[in-house]
Symmetry: C2
Subunit: 421 residues, 2 copies
């Protein structure tokens, strides 16, 4: 017995009936003999509604005031869920981030947690009460309200679990766990019972946004055992996410994912001088643009120049091109070429290390399916290929089958499943 942290997202709290259902899941964990801390998001579409109100007032609302506004959504959830737990005869208390002491840096809308006060939490847990904490929000040392940005509530949950040294952090959602790939594309995609932080990170980054990479990273750093499970099917154990060292057997390939939100950019004919590639990516980094795959190759027609190709998120395209226009002049490059007809298809697996056959199996399978590979990049536990966008679906199906990831059952697809492709 120990402390279990549970996190429920907005879909699980969409209305008061769903909130009562969540209360039952909380009480079930409490009845297992555990101390329970619950982290919640705002109800259903509350955040969208608040954003809409602000957009009616300002096209570019002040970030401090947006945090003041949006943080109310989670505060509504904690009060209602606490009432629902009390209604079942259990002692519970709600706390917002200021009351807990979830201290963040002085940044609005994308603050990072720097400390979580545990005195009050431990005191209340010792009194036998269930604690319901507002996710997504924090407070600066000066008492300013902040929010954590995307994946904020997941991150709140993992950070609180880490600070309380919880035995487990359960992320309740409306999918039944982490799948080998998107069940809408491969109907017999199988639920993974166990996956490592590292694999989950790669799956998350390549589009499987069941869980925000930021939360997975925090869990990895503090070694917090995670579990993704369904609020609506409590009998299903979901997917455990733990350290790779704690896994007995590593599969060669754990999952297949695709990301269609990237664009490929090629800078042609960059003179082959030391430091030129560095200059390109330094400028992009200064503007906070994340670059994903990078390939530098000799330009075909001129062996004294290189072509530098890389991918960025489509939202960063405009910004990237502005920066590159200057870089092009500075480096005396010939041309900038943009390709938005791409999808990044990846296979992920902690067991991939030291098994060189995996990569060639992937390339052969794609070739056999007549799918052209535009770029390749690899990490220790991932191989990604850029393909044409309309080949993505076929690529996933082919790779899922090649690496025998399917189950005998047809996976059930719920409405809010993340967009793999």
């Amino acid at each position: 017995m120990g402390i279990v942290v549970q996190k429920f997202g907005g879909t699980s709290l969409a209305d008061t009936d769903k909130i009562k259902n969540v209360a039952k899941a909380v009480i079930k964990e409490k009845n297992n003999g555990n101390d329970v801390v619950v982290i919640v998001s705002a109800m259903g579409h509350t955040t969208d509604y608040l954003v809409k109100l602000s957009s009616e007032i300002s096209k570019n609302p002040n970030k401090r005031e947006m945090d003041m506004l949006l943080s109310t959504g989670e505060q509504v959830s904690i009060a209602l869920l606490t009432m629902a737990i009390q209604e079942e005869g259990y002692e519970a208390i709600s706390l917002n981030a200021s009351q807990v002491g979830i201290i963040t840096e002085k940044v609005h809308s994308t603050a990072r947690i720097i400390d979580i006060k545990t005195d009050k939490l431990n005191k209340i847990l010792n009194e036998g009460k269930i604690i319901v904490v507002a996710g997504f929000q924090g407070v600066t040392e000066d008492g300013e309200i902040t929010t954590l940005g995307r994946g904020g509530s997941d991150t709140s949950a993992v950070a609180i679990a880490a600070s309380l040294k919880a035995q487990r952090c359960d992320i309740y959602t409306d999918v039944e766990g982490v799948y080998t790939t998107d069940p809408r594309i491969v109907p017999n995609a199988s639920r993974l019972e166990i996956v490592s932080y590292e694999e989950m990170l790669e799956l998350a980054r390549t589009g499987a946004n069941v869980l925000h990479p930021r939360a997975v990273e925090t869990a990895k750093v503090y070694n917090v055992p995670l579990r993704v499970r369904s609020t609506f099917k409590l009998e299903n154990l979901g997917t455990y996410i733990i350290g790779v060292n704690e896994m007995e057997i590593s599969k060669n390939v754990t999952g297949v994912a695709a990301d269609t939100t990237q664009v490929r950019i090629v800078i042609c004919d960059v003179p082959d001088q030391p430091g030129n590639a560095g200059k390109v990516f330094e400028k992009l980094a200064q503007s906070n643009i994340s670059v994903d795959m990078i390939i530098q190759s000799y330009a075909r027609h001129n062996l004294n120049t290189n072509d530098i190709a890389f991918t960025v998120d489509e939202n960063d395209l405009k910004n990237t091109l502005e920066i590159l226009e200057n870089v092009k002049k500075e480096l005396n490059a010939s041309n900038i070429f943009v390709d938005d007809d791409i999808a990044k298809v990846s296979i992920v697996g902690a067991g991939m290390i030291d098994r060189p056959g995996i990569a060639s199996s992937m390339f052969n399978a794609l070739a056999k399916a007549n799918i052209n590979i535009k770029m390749i990049s690899t990490s220790e536990i991932k191989i990604s290929c850029l393909v044409n966008k309309n080949d993505a679906k076929k690529a996933i199906q082919v790779l899922h089958s090649t690496f025998e990831l399917g189950s005998d059952e047809i996976a059930e697809v719920k409405g809010d499943l993340p967009n793999f492709v």
Copy 2:
């Protein structure tokens, strides 16, 4: 030039267009050269919506959690109004009660303010910024969120004005001021340009709920000049509410009001022994039941017993009767009689003192209109008569005319006018 506190209620903030309108009223005051602190309620029907959510979860929700829930309403308002002010190019910042330090006693849902920290407010005002503060809410020394109960936002505004020694507290609402009586009953009711705290209190207690009595009392204690004015007609100066000593001329009668929410209770044949009346009202006070008019008279048929008659709010009737059932046995009284067909009609005026003719004018006017008086009570600045409920409207019209309170203009009646009758 000095500090002006402005308070805007939910109707003035019902949607984002109205919020933009409020921002203009705030900026107008700022442009007059004043430092401005704005106190706001929750938008329109937000509180009703939150109460509905809680009622779907529990019939008797925990008061602490209700405060956690309801306080979000004002927090939404402060953020949106601040954005709207900023959008007009003015510097503004929102603060919730915790951030200001509006310290209350440790009571949920009806907390009283015990202290307001002014350091932060004064510091921000000195920087030239407009401050937007959440009304209705407070915080205990331990950081628990509380709410102030009915009339809470008005009280927040007056208390902040008192603590900042503001030159004025303007209560913006959707009526144009305090009227001599309900314009729906007397179409030529006139707006009072000035009224004393004491008169306003009597008018408020007898049903003219433009302003909550609690806020008026606080203003009286700290001598905060109040003004009630319309958010939607800024050219209208509204009604000033100040100390009676500061008024140059006191009218004999300032206004006529009626209250139809009371019931009359008579305990018959209470033996005429010292202390018996005290016992009755002590028991009621212990149960927090406010008694309004009290009359003790000899029972007609038995000169050794008294009939004790009094009025209570209709919401307290059930509770009152339960208590009286025991009291009746203890005192050996014969009967308890309830009359809910009553209305209390009052005339109010600070100039009434030492003018004995006013009372007889009132009684004569009602008699001439064939209106039977069931009970009478008087204070220094008020005379109240209980009449039958269906005589209330006529009584108001007759008294308004008798004391020549009408204006030449027909008052404009807006939707949200308080229910006088």
